[in-house]
């Protein structure tokens, strides 16, 4: 009996691990479709809209990569993953790239054998409470019940924060944002904690956002970014430089609307290299020269993506803050295209 069960386990493990670590970009091209690990539904970052089309800040990056690699931003299949399943999905090869509000940490980068190729959103963990609770600071939450997503860094930060402030709490473990929101609204917990951006996104989808406040304390650093498997450096480069192309585009004032015009008229050598007018940037990462141009044309530059999905004009209403370009006091800084 021992033996049979062991075999079962090993079969499962063997099959899961069976996906080869060979070039992901070839797999994607052969398949004609990019498989992107996304959120199960976090409005503004990654969620299907009323027509079933995926929309959001993270989703846009998936579409940019599809445009760069396959030439069509719609050739993406989105695989919804929870905080618990996302890394297994990536490690087993079920998804090509994971763009799902995932925090870059030492152990994930090393022990889990992943590469965080860039940071598309600099975030931090916050708390949301109902206004009528009368809480103005996270330090007043001693004894509270807190909803927390399992399998996340926020889970560990939460324990550390309460310990450091000599407070106690009762955790309520939930699987994803929608479950967390339901439990929080039902009053199963006093506070809901996750990345501040996630809180803002959750609040925007509530019936009465004005009755909920996000507490001022940010208790952690949460650099969120696209993740690929460790060892396939070429694929990592493609994802990284597609993202940086979008950032550079914002810096250079290239938008989805004017990209063709800029490509035709610009005299700035970096812009010309970026848009593939001269040089052979694309060939160096195994793509054609116009990969960045297609990505920008498909989804717009970093600033456009931000404003369209989570910016101040949207219900989520996030300020650029740390995510402004470095030239405007933020942290978004693309290495030179040279």
């Amino acid at each position: 009996m021992h033996k049979t069960i062991l075999i079962g386990a090993l079969t499962a493990a063997g099959l899961a691990a069976g996906a080869s670590a060979a070039a992901t970009v070839d797999d994607v091209k052969a398949r004609g479709e990019l498989i992107c690990g996304s959120n199960t539904g976090l409005t503004g970052f990654g969620a299907p809209d009323a027509n079933g089309n995926w929309q959001g800040f993270d989703v846009a990056l998936c579409r940019a990569i599809a445009a760069a690699v396959l030439g069509d931003p719609n050739k993406v299949r989105f695989v919804p993953t929870t905080g618990e399943t996302r890394f297994t999905a990536l490690a087993s090869g079920e998804v090509d790239v994971l763009i799902r509000n995932s925090t870059w940490t030492f152990s994930r980068d090393t022990e889990l054998a992943f590469d965080f190729v860039a940071v598309n959103y600099y975030d931090g963990q916050g708390f949301m409470v109902k206004k009528d609770l009368g809480v103005a600071s996270a330090k007043e939450l001693d004894g509270a019940t807190v909803c927390i997503q399992t399998g996340t860094t926020t889970e560990l930060n939460l324990a550390d924060f309460f310990k450091a402030n000599n407070m106690t709490y009762t955790p309520v473990n939930v699987q994803d944002d929608s479950q967390a929101q339901q439990q929080y609204l039902a009053g199963a917990c006093d506070a809901y904690t996750t990345d501040a951006s996630g809180l803002a996104a959750s609040r925007a989808t509530m019936a009465d956002p004005e009755n909920h406040i996000i507490l001022p304390e940010i208790i952690s650093k949460e650099p969120l970014g696209p993740v690929v498997r460790h060892g396939d450096n070429n694929w990592g480069d493609i994802v990284r430089w597609t993202f940086y192309a979008l950032v550079t585009a914002e810096e250079k004032g290239i938008t989805a609307a004017n990209v063709e015009e800029v490509a035709a008229s610009s005299t700035d050598p970096e812009v010309r290299r970026l848009l593939g007018v001269e040089g052979d940037m694309g060939a160096k990462i195994g793509l054609d020269n116009e990969f960045a141009k297609r990505a920008i044309a498909a989804v717009g530059n970093y600033g456009e993506i931000f404003e369209a999905n989570i910016g101040e004009a949207t219900p989520i209403g996030l300020a650029r803050g740390l995510n402004a370009l470095w030239t405007q006091g933020g942290l978004q800084y693309a290495p030179p295209f040279r």
């Binding site: 063997g14 955790p171 473990n173 009053g187 060892g231």
Partner: protein, 425 residues
Amino acid sequence: MALAPDAPKDSFRLSMLIYDTRFRAMTIQVIVLILFGLAVAWLLNNTVQNLAAKGKTFNYSFLWVRAGYDIEQTLIPYTNDSTHFRALLVGLTNTLVVALVGCIGATILGVIVGVLRLSKNWLVARIMTVYVEIFRNIPLLLWILIIYVPISEIAPAPSAFRVTEEMQAAGQAPAASKILFDTVAVTNRGIYAPLPLFSRPLGSVDLGPVSLNLTFLSIVAVLGASILAYRALRARARAVQEATGVRPVTWWKSLMILVLPTALLLAAMGLHLEIPELTRFNFTGGILLQHAFTALTLALILYTGAFIAEIVRAGILAVSKGQTEAAYALGLRPNRTMSLIILPQALRVIIPPLISQYLNLTKNTSLGIAVSYLDLRGTLGGITLNQTGRELECMLLMMLIYLTISLIISAVMNVYNRSVRLKER
């Protein structure tokens, strides 16, 4: 003179392995065994290679690293500074407590329903049939959710229990209040019940990984001694009855023997109840019975109870009707017939399938994940697995633990089965 030809020489040819029925069975077994071994070797090799390709090692040292996360329901001391192994133990105890309560509850429910389904009362029998058919034909997961959602949505929030000064001034009652003499608070987060505490506990002895709670042990010891004394008293009463024909009055002696020593011990240790009190956010003090626990246990009892009811019914029907008729002929009433004649015989048929129901129930506790009940699957197979990224190790260990629990239950029940089965002379 012609000699009788020599008996054929007992020579062995390779073809006999296939064509000789004496060897064929063996040949097939050997081939299958070799194929099986090759399959195992291939799987092992595949695993090792893939682990190597991913640069992952296979070891369990992560179990001794600080876990860093908190667990709602802990039956043994645990903080986020404890190790992953400790978190595993917390999960294991959470699994076992559901399994234990579930098995006991399902057995009681199953026996009652199984007997009532055979009742001559048409209405009772039909109601029991409806219960059995509904519960065993709808997936357990749905039952867990069906029970969990209403109790967590309908019950009032802790804040509804609050009495503010304005409300006191206006003479208003709070929206909700504690029940059972103002001791138990049913909220949407769980049921807060009073916790028995001792003001003069005996402390505990630390023995490495386990610590012995002397308070608890002393209560068990005293209670055990009382029960032994009670049995001695009954044995003596029976002896007297057989000798003289008159049974001495024992009820007040039994009562004293059973209750008094334990009560004295509890009083000496200063037993009192800690009543949950409303603080800033929640009730504190007392013990919290999570809705996840309640829903999971209740669903398991109702679901498995339906199966056990069918097993009990089958067991009873397996006892020949002549037994009942003979009992009636002797003048036994139906209740006594059931408890003295039918059920003891039915047990022989009931126990073996009952074992597999217990095993099912124990394994089904892992569905607690649906209501975020942190059992073994939730700690070792959930958070620990996720935070350490040791999928293979965690899964194998978890399977091994469930396997061990199941084998232990199976072994214990087999011993019991042996004790009730027909003694052949």
